[in-house]
Amino acid sequence: MARRIGTEVSLAVADAVKMAAPDVISAYPITPQTHIVEELSEFVANGELDAEYIPVESEHSAMSAAVGAAAAGARVYTATSSQGLALMHEILFIASSMRLPMVMTVANRSLSGPISIWNDHSDIMAERDIGWVQLFVENGQEALEFTWAAFRIGEDKRVMLPVVVNMDGFIMSHMIEPITIPDQEVVDAFLKPYEPQIKLDTADPVTFGPVGVPEVYLEAKKQCEQALLDSKAVVSEVIDDLNHTFGRQYGLVETNGAEDAETVIVTMGSLGESVMTAVDRMNANGKAVRQARIRLWRPFPVEEFMDAVSGAKKLVVIDRAISPGSVNGPVAQELKSVFYGRLDAPEIVNVIAGIGGRDVPVDDFVQMVELAEKGELAETYTLWGLDSDA
């Protein structure tokens, strides 16, 4: 029988990883990700999880060991945040270029300096182009279920790519939520054991990570990009099955609110939950507003996004990272390029909010919509909540 328990989201993620039966976990501590791997190491120590736990000496090595383990044919898991993700940077590209499935939870956190342990998306936005499948979850239940989905997507023979599950640090990772944990059999039916297509095998030797001369490098890159683009269909398929298995309604881009709304708020990650409350409140007050929540960030689901915002005249795009020197935050940049040149393109206004853990209460979204509709938000971007003395 499925159990419904009150638990910290990090611990639920650790449970999900345990139920996915990884062979190797390699990790290095960083707040706010630590509770996940602490819990996993306890499972291993108590014999509840039959896996090798490698307590490496840095995140660079965590990712390097993950690459080695995945190349040897293991199901691999790691988790990190912020500076840790930045330290992995070099190896993240190599993991995807070698087409090695593995799952990494990123408890999103701002980057130094000044040092801040709190949430925003600047860590993952600096890693946009690593060639991994990237998902964003909004609450604990999703964090659990998308961990299994991530293994299944990455390990699918049509994909063979590493997958990041992004969840907001603290706001989600440290939240205690009611979470339904299904029976192991249900998970086993959803996520089959991993069968690597290619691995370091002395019975059938292969060379991983060779030199790419100019005559082959571009082709190799194109193949990786194509694999990522093609993964979208598999992500859809896996999410459909996830919906079927667990009784959900997830999509690549999810919407909520008035279907005829001309203004749509676009979010990624846990702010979507606050926006949902704001949108419901505005709808109840007779104001037609909708929200679009981007669940799949890489590969970017262009068609699904277009469908989700069809009919909109104005998009209020909430970014949780600054792209210094650019005209927009990363999500708004993405959406502008998606719409560029289209006659039906909505106006895109960009609000950068919740930086470095700054609170964004529900009322603020109502205010953002009002200002956007009056044309009072900046043409480039508005840094929400900026201390005017700064």
Binding site: D23, V24, S26, D50, A51, E52, I54, P55, V56, E57, S58, H60, S61, A62, S64, A65, A66, V67, G68, A69, A70, A71, A72, G73, A74, V76, E90, I91, I94, L200, D201, T202, A203, P205, V206, T207, F208, G209, P210, V211, G212, V213, V216, A220
Partner: protein
Amino acid sequence: MLKDIDLSGVDKTKLKEIHKMESMVSSGHRACQGCGEVLAMGMVTRVAGPDTIVCNATGCMEIISSPYPQTAWKVPWIHVAFENAGAVASGVEAAIKALHRKGKVSSKPNILCFGGDGATADIGFGSLSGAMERGHNLLYVCLDNEAYMNTGIQRSSSTPYGASTTTSPCGTESIGQHTQKKNMPRIIAEHGVPYVATASPSHPTDLMDKVAKALAVDGPAYLHIYSPCPTGWGSKGEKSIEIAKLAVETNLFPLYEVVGGRFGFTKKIKKVKPIGDYLKLQRRFRHLTEKEIGFIQQTVEDNYEELERFCQATAKCEE
């Protein structure tokens, strides 16, 4: 920290048998003529054999053996980056351990790691130290050509005093490298690793015996192989083995092993040659004056004496 590890049962390499042992690095690779690193790699893999997985750091040996679509490797091989061979090998080892336990793989291959001195003593030092300290069952081999050769002969912390490199050039105000070579085998031995040794391709049976012992111990092992580089040292390709031999015969690079923390020479030089014999065959040292050569000679003697003291201090009482 001293431990008794019995390696007496490990087979010794017979000189006449070496040609029958197959190298896992095939000919046709792109190393320079007389490259000590590739020679050493051939010797190591002759002992390790086909049931071996190789993890290679970025550097000469990775570049010369893997330009796609060719490969010189007859065993599974992985290159990830410059500074992480130790960590990659840790992952491979852990995966094999878990998969073997779960019955998903049948063999337990040797896990070998190759890194240049830069990959070992400098940028990859942390990941190597981590792999050694955590006790993974793998053999890390440092191919020490005493500089970053792949990027064009830049100094490393393993470059010896007085050597001219492109980032420690000799000039009117400099003798070239003005620091002493980092002592990697000793540093790794201090990790409590069960087997650590130095070796040279000029002494193939000694080298290969050490590989066999390193693979026989349970846990991590480290081999530091002296690897002449004609390109970087300004020496003649056909002189590489002679130079390597002179490094041993001058006591510049003593051949020893550390088994369970106990130091012991594997070759004692009866008639020690002067360091000048060694230095004069290499352009990287040609600017040195008699005074500096005298200083290097003194350093070699001091280092050797210190090593002798280590051997005495850690020897078993009954011996």
